[in-house]
């Protein structure tokens, strides 16, 4: 025993003897102006762009306050303050840390709720990681990328069939407030269970109650096992909202570098642009259109460009981004919406009229596009989705036309009947994502006319029953998921099952 004790004491002595406090020259500055989350500092020569600045002040909780240098001017430095700026006084010392702003990343982040600096705010204790990533990073270049080919299954019928999203794609979700933009993103996250995806949900300037609800829902569906939530609340300073999406992206890039697939949701980028506008105006950068600064396009383009599909030589990982934009009264031609539309690889446009008619999710099939297209669909879905998209488009055209007169020929009437069923089939409840196999079965029975004699109001019931029957009796749903296509055997079995099922039903319309 005493040997051990001596050893410990000996070690302690030698360690202290060998300890050399290194002498470091530090660059300092003095706060000459502070307010609204912005500080102006004189001194700080040789400071870098977006370098972390440490203030010699402690906030109420006893933590040091940090800032980020954003404006390097002739005789002062403009700094945004991350956190509580009320404790900073004029004349305080600011020290340049010689580090670019970075956040902790790693497996430990999964299942946690963090702020935009990577600190846990879910009350489950500190997050201990050994790796840090800078929040700003140049996006991978052409050589490292490859084209998108694997699907992200959102589990939403209207999206997976008509606007398919691929791994590495950036698909904008756009629409007015309260139309279910977040709901689509959350459903997509819930549906990633068992699909080898990590998810990051970035809430920018959101109501904390809303985010608490989302976390609860995700936990309920077991989705927090692969999800990280980056949260800046509505009461957080604009500086934190401004860096939140970049932090979220840095967390996602850790998994990308490990060759994994990540789905990241930015909810929402309009608020992000607003907080950047606030910061820019306070830093006295010249305002441009709608008072946004000149580089507001670059603000989003550099963020979304970091979403990518890497080729095999670079690990083969991907980051799929679902940015959300909230429009004002359906105005998609405002500044920020047009910017983001032009950056992304397509958009899902949600329409108020559809929403209030009860077609939820209210995806407008005409205005929603995916520039990656069918490259990101499994073969089985490709086969049925093309037809569905056509039926939906024809229905839209005819429905407007059919309002004028009731004397329609048989062909048109048939198309209208079919179209009404397509619209009905696209209706889907929240938090009820559907496996791709089930989606294919629904679409298959519709385009092959097996639903034509099902009354429109019974479609939902019919679909549910059909899925249940097929799931219980056969392995078709799994087979489609694994093989990715409907071969002859599956098709035969499927037709038989559908016919069997229909023979048990009583509500079918008699053939005229």
């Amino acid at each position: 025993m005493s040997n051990t004790k001596d050893f410990i004491l000996e070690q302690l002595k030698t360690q202290i003897d060998n300890y050399q406090g290194e002498l470091k020259e530090q660059t300092v500055g003095t706060v000459i102006e502070v307010g609204d989350g912005i500080a102006r500092i004189s001194g700080l020569s040789e400071v870098m762009m977006s370098e972390m600045i440490e203030f010699d002040t402690k906030d109420n909780s006893g933590k040091k306050v940090f800032g980020v240098a954003l404006n390097l001017e002739e005789d002062s430095v403009g700094v945004i303050i991350l956190g509580n700026y009320e404790s900073i006084k004029e004349g305080d010392t600011a020290i340049a840390t010689k580090k670019i702003l970075e956040v902790p990343v790693g497996e430990e982040m999964i299942g946690r709720v963090v702020n935009s600096l990577g600190d846990a705010i879910d009350g489950k204790g500190d997050i201990k990681t050994s790796t840090h990533y800078p929040i700003e990073k140049i996006a991978p270049g052409v050589i490292a990328r490859e084209s998108v080919f694997e699907p992200v299954q959102t589990g939403i019928k209207a999206i997976d069939s008509m606007v398919p999203i691929g791994r590495g794609q950036r698909e904008l979700i756009i629409g007015d407030r309260q139309l279910g933009k977040t709901a689509i993103a959350i459903d997509a996250i819930i549906n990633q269970k068992g699909q080898n995806m990590k998810c990051v949900y970035v809430a920018i300037g959101q109501k904390e109650s809303k985010v608490a609800g989302i976390v609860a829902k995700l936990e309920e569906h077991g989705a927090m096992e692969y999800t990280t939530i980056v949260l800046t609340g509505a009461s957080d300073p604009a500086a934190l909202s401004y860096i939140a999406p970049y932090s979220g992206c840095a967390i996602a890039e850790y998994f990308l570098d490990k060759g994994e697939d990540v789905l990241i949701v930015y909810d929402d980028l309009s608020k992000h642009a607003v907080s950047y506008r606030e910061i820019s105006l306070l830093l006295r950068r010249p305002p441009g259109r709608e008072a946004y600064p000149g580089d507001v396009f670059y603000l989003h383009s550099r963020l979304l460009e970091r979403s990518c599909k890497l080729n095999k030589d670079n690990g083969g990982g991907s980051i799929t981004a679902l940015p959300i934009i909230e429009t004002q009264a359906g105005d998609v031609s405002a500044y920020i919406p047009t910017n983001v539309i032009s950056i992304t690889d397509g958009q899902i446009y949600l329409e108020p009229d559809l929403f209030y008619q009860g077609n939820r999710p209210a995806v407008n099939a005409g205005l929603s596009v995916s520039r990656v297209g069918s490259a990101a669909q499994i073969k089985a879905m490709k086969k049925v989705a093309g037809k569905i998209r056509l039926e939906a488009a024809q229905y839209r055209e005819l429905a407007a036309f059919a309002q004028f007169g009731s004397d329609l020929d048989k062909e048109t009437q048939k198309k209208l009947e079919r179209g009404a069923r397509v619209v009905e089939l696209f209706k889907q409840d929240q938090f009820a994502p559907l496996l791709v196999g089930k989606q294919v079965i629904s679409f298959y029975s519709l385009i092959n006319g097996y639903m034509d004699d099902v009354p429109v109001e019974k479609i939902v019931e019919f679909e549910k029953g059909l899925h249940e029957k097929i799931e219980n009796n056969t392995s078709i749903i799994k087979d489609i998921g694994i093989k990715g296509e409907i071969d002859e055997n599956i098709e035969k079995e499927l037709i038989k099952e559908i016919k069997d099922y229909k023979s048990t039903l009583e509500y079918l319309i008699e053939n005229k």
């Binding site: 300890y19 406090g21 530090q26 660059t27 300092v28 005789d75």
Partner: protein, 133 residues
């Protein structure tokens, strides 16, 4: 065009260098007249501040604050002076000494916008955080 205080200070330095005292007196008088004419007399404090910086920069002088726990003797100050002259490659160091007992020992040098912290207090703090990790 508006003339800022830095430009006034630079101009003042340019005309005043290598001049005799009575000449300078006249120049200052003229400068004040110019300031009044330009409605810039309220900037005089700023100009004085800037002039201090300009003068130090052009003449190779650096103001240095030496913080220590106890009063330093002449020999130590001489050593510090030599160290700074060598390090910063300048002509002259203006040393202001100050005493802060909280440092326990060692010195903190402040020159320009740099800090060189060699105090016992900081060393102990660093040591503490290292032991913690």
């Amino acid at each position: 065009m508006k003339i800022n205080s830095k430009q006034y200070a630079l101009a003042l330095y340019e005309i005043a260098k290598d001049k005799k005292k009575n000449e300078i007196e006249l120049m200052i008088k003229n400068l004040v007249n110019v300031l009044i004419a330009n409605n810039d007399i309220s900037k005089v404090d700023e100009i004085m501040n800037e002039f201090d910086k300009v003068w130090n920069y052009k003449e190779g002088v650096v103001d240095t604050t030496v913080l220590s726990a106890k009063k330093l003797d002449e020999k130590t100050l001489e050593l510090l002076n030599k160290y700074l002259l060598g390090k910063l490659e300048i002509k002259k160091v203006d040393i202001i000494t100050d005493i802060d007992e909280k440092l326990l020992g060692g010195v903190i040098l402040k020159y320009g916008d740099k800090i060189l912290d060699g105090s016992i207090k900081t060393k102990l703090n660093n040591f503490k955080s290292r032991l913690k990790n």
